[in-house]
């Protein structure tokens, strides 16, 4: 039921309601009068949309090019581009039979049609007398001719106008002079007609970009264990390797899709530091990742199909497979493989390198990166080995406000300063915020421990009560 002009109207019906002679768009009041036992629920387009997307995701088990229908198409189905995929199932009839039986098992009655154009397939799925229709190539015009004009996916206004003018069937539109139609109607009419007849291309909005490198396996029996998943993933990767080698590329990111028996799809992504074609390495990464996210993966009644796609590929030298270290004893590929393994198990951003940043502020002078890093400059001034997460306030006793510290209390411990070296003045970066200037001191206490303290604010110029902080610790 949906709210509309003139009162609530019917948005969708089940089979029993159809049998009673009700139709979509009927006024609810009329329907109630016809069928007194009618049960009504408000329509929930958001949930419908989510359910359709889930189903479309499941349908990627047939082909990766799946496009769920949007508002214009009625938002109650999806296109599958089965060109090049149907032979894997032994022909289009078998594919449709398999699809309809699986949908039936989910409790979803469906109408299916295969045609050369998306428009024709849509029209047949709606208006063909049979639930399943396959249109041979080149017969779009004959097949569409007897169908009502609504089969062209036109807006309600356009269809109403056409009906008023006496155009009831698509056949009466085909082969008419185009100019009068172009003058009287929105461009929609001719576009839709051309799309249905294959005269104009119709781009599909796919649920996920189709991967270039993709392999899929259907299993005789559903699998339940991590080991089985990993074993199948190895075989999938071996299938992919041929195509990768042929094109001289390696995978930088891979996605493993697990199709559960009840239609749920789980995807697992891994990314790599360097392009790879090594099945052993890839499956080890999936193994580690599965271990980490074990709780998040629901095995349910098992997985019946697995698909592996290389989502990002990069050119790769053909002779990177040898594991012999190079002259300086460093093997970049083995190192990248190790970093990948650690990252999959420990989580993203756990394995990092440090890169220098051109900033005077110590806490901004470096950043953690995961890829190649620039060379570090030669060390200038002494810098602490540890940097505290945040500079911590310290109580400092100094002879004069702008002098070096004599004693300081930090984390509840009093330190007597044996030697203080400084100040090293670091001004704030004016293009950021106006922080006070800092005067840094390298301080050694009586026990030989070395600290990095700074006084925040220039005495009498920026503040009258400079505050002290401990920011780092030297070796």
């Amino acid at each position: 039921m949906v709210e509309a002009a003139g009162g609530p109207r019917i948005a969708a019906l089940n089979e029993a309601a159809y049998a009673e002679g009700l139709a979509v768009h009927d006024l609810l009041a009329d329907a109630r009068a016809k069928v007194t036992t009618l049960q009504v629920r408000p329509a929930d387009p958001t949930a419908d949309d989510a359910a359709l997307r889930r189903l479309a995701l499941w349908a990627t088990r047939y082909t990766p090019t799946v496009s769920p229908w949007g508002e214009q198409n009625g938002a109650d189905g999806f296109f599958l581009d089965v060109a090049g995929a149907s032979h894997l199932f032994g022909g289009e009839e078998t594919l449709l039979a398999d699809l309809i039986s699986r949908l039936d098992r989910f409790g979803l009655p469906a109408r299916l049609a295969i045609a050369d154009t998306a428009g024709a397939a849509w029209a047949l799925s709606r208006f063909h007398p049979d639930d399943v229709a396959i249109l041979p190539s080149g017969q779009e015009a004959e097949a569409l001719a007897p169908l009502p004009v609504a089969a062209l996916r036109l807006s309600p206004d356009t269809s109403a106008t056409l009906r008023r003018l006496g155009f009831k069937r698509i056949g009466s539109l085909i082969d008419k002079p185009r100019a009068p139609f172009a003058a009287r109607f929105e461009s929609e009419l001719l576009t839709r007609l051309d799309q249905a007849l294959g005269r104009a291309a119709e781009p599909l909005a796919l649920i996920a970009p189709p991967p270039v490198y993709h392999s899929l396996r259907y299993l005789m029996e559903p699998i339940f264990s991590q080991e089985a998943i990993v074993a199948v993933a190895t075989r999938l990767m071996k299938d992919l390797v041929h195509a990768l080698v042929r094109h001289g590329v390696g995978a930088r990111a891979l996605r493993l899709a697990l199709y559960r028996v009840d239609g749920e799809v789980t995807t697992i992504d891994v990314s790599l530091t360097m392009p790879t074609r090594d099945p052993a390495h890839v499956t080890r990464l999936f193994d580690l990742k599965l271990e980490r996210i074990a709780e998040a993966v629901e095995f349910g009644f098992g997985f019946e199909a697995l698909g592996l796609a290389a989502t990002i590929v990069e050119p790769m030298e053909p002779t990177q497979t040898d594991l012999a270290p190079s002259a300086d004893g460093h093997n970049a590929e083995a190192c990248a493989a190790l970093v990948d393994r650690l990252q999959q198990r420990l989580g993203p951003r756990s394995v990092r390198r440090l890169a220098p940043v051109a900033s005077h502020l110590p806490e901004r002078a470096e950043m953690a990166v995961t890829d190649a890093i620039p060379a570090w400059p030669a060390p200038q001034a002494a810098r602490p080995l540890f940097l505290l997460p945040h500079a911590e306030p310290a109580d400092v006793l100094a002879l004069v406000p702008e002098g070096p510290p004599q004693r300081f209390r930090w984390r509840g411990v009093m330190h007597d300063v044996a030697h203080a070296q400084g100040p090293e003045r670091i001004a704030s970066e004016w293009w950021r915020s106006s922080q006070p200037t800092r005067d840094y001191y390298l301080v050694e206490d009586d026990d030989g421990r070395r600290f990095w303290l700074y006084r925040e604010g220039l005495y009498e110029r920026e503040t009258n009560a400079p505050r002290w902080f401990v920011q780092g610790l030297f070796a």
Binding site: L354, P356, E366, L385, F386, V413, A418, L442
Partner: protein
């Protein structure tokens, strides 16, 4: 096979040893398992291989909690002495560095260890840190693995020691004192006042290092200073140093001997 039998026939012992060394080097193990010396005869003489043996677990223990930076500095100084090439893996777990923050790239740099060589691995807990260290050691990729972790039980230390032995990589572990392990050496490190240059400025960091335990070696205690530019250790001019007058040194030395026996 043929070369081995030839070596066996030669009567001269040095020749046999030389030949075996060459064969081992061809296996690609011995070349990596070479020890890491201090470059100081005084200290290297105490160690069975003339340095920290490769393919083994070495422990560094801070004298007190506040000596963790000094102990870590000692680890970094040793790592900086490894000849350039393969990366160095530094594995940390949350309880390892406790409240001391994070290793600072510019600080590593000013201690002579090129930060570009270091790969930091931050494990979410101690178990994962052990796994990461083992994985890194077994891969044979890093020149050395350093771990800053909390507690370590005896069995875990055994596993790590074996993993290090498989690929001949050096494993340095910074951990709290007072736990049994299979480490071949244990160093106790405390901070001590730095060497001054002729202008009275702090020039070279100094640490008081105590070789508490050393399999097939002799314990000892020294005050060393480290030059980050040349990566050289040297002994502090002991008698001129005021910290030496604490007279704890000789006492501790005897104590260490007693424990090792």
């Amino acid at each position: 096979m043929q070369t081995a039998s030839m070596a066996y026939q030669s009567s001269h012992r040095a020749e046999i040893v030389g030949e075996l060394r060459r064969l081992l080097a061809q296996q690609g193990v011995a070349a990596e398992a070479r020890p890491l010396p201090f470059g100081l005869q005084t200290i290297d003489g105490h160690l069975p291989h003339g340095g920290l043996a490769g393919g083994a677990l070495h422990e560094v223990v801070p004298e007190a909690r506040s000596d963790i930076p000094a102990a870590f500095g000692f680890v970094v100084a040793m790592l900086s002495r490894i000849r350039p090439g393969a990366p160095i893996f530094l594995v940390t777990s949350p309880c390892g560095l406790a409240t001391f923050g994070r290793p600072y790239g510019h600080g590593l740099n000013s201690l002579g260890l090129d930060p570009a060589r270091v790969i930091l691995v931050a494990a979410p807990n101690a178990t994962q840190a052990l796994w990461a260290m083992e994985e890194a050691l077994r891969s044979g990729v890093p020149a050395a693995v350093a771990g800053v972790i909390g507690k370590l039980d005896f069995r875990a230390s055994q596993r790590l020691h074996i993993a290090a032995g498989e690929t001949g990589r050096l494993l340095l572990l910074l951990r709290p004192p007072g736990m049994a392990s299979v480490a071949v050496t244990r160093w106790r490190v405390a901070a001590t006042s730095a060497a001054r240059d002729r202008f009275g400025l702090l020039a070279r960091w100094r640490w008081q290092i105590k070789l508490e335990r050393c399999r097939n070696g002799r314990p000892g205690q020294w005050i060393v200073e480290f030059d980050h530019a040349t990566h050289h250790f040297s002994l502090a001019a002991a008698l001129a140093d005021p910290t030496f007058s604490r007279s704890t040194v000789v006492h501790a030395h005897v104590h260490a001997r007693g424990r090792a026996g």
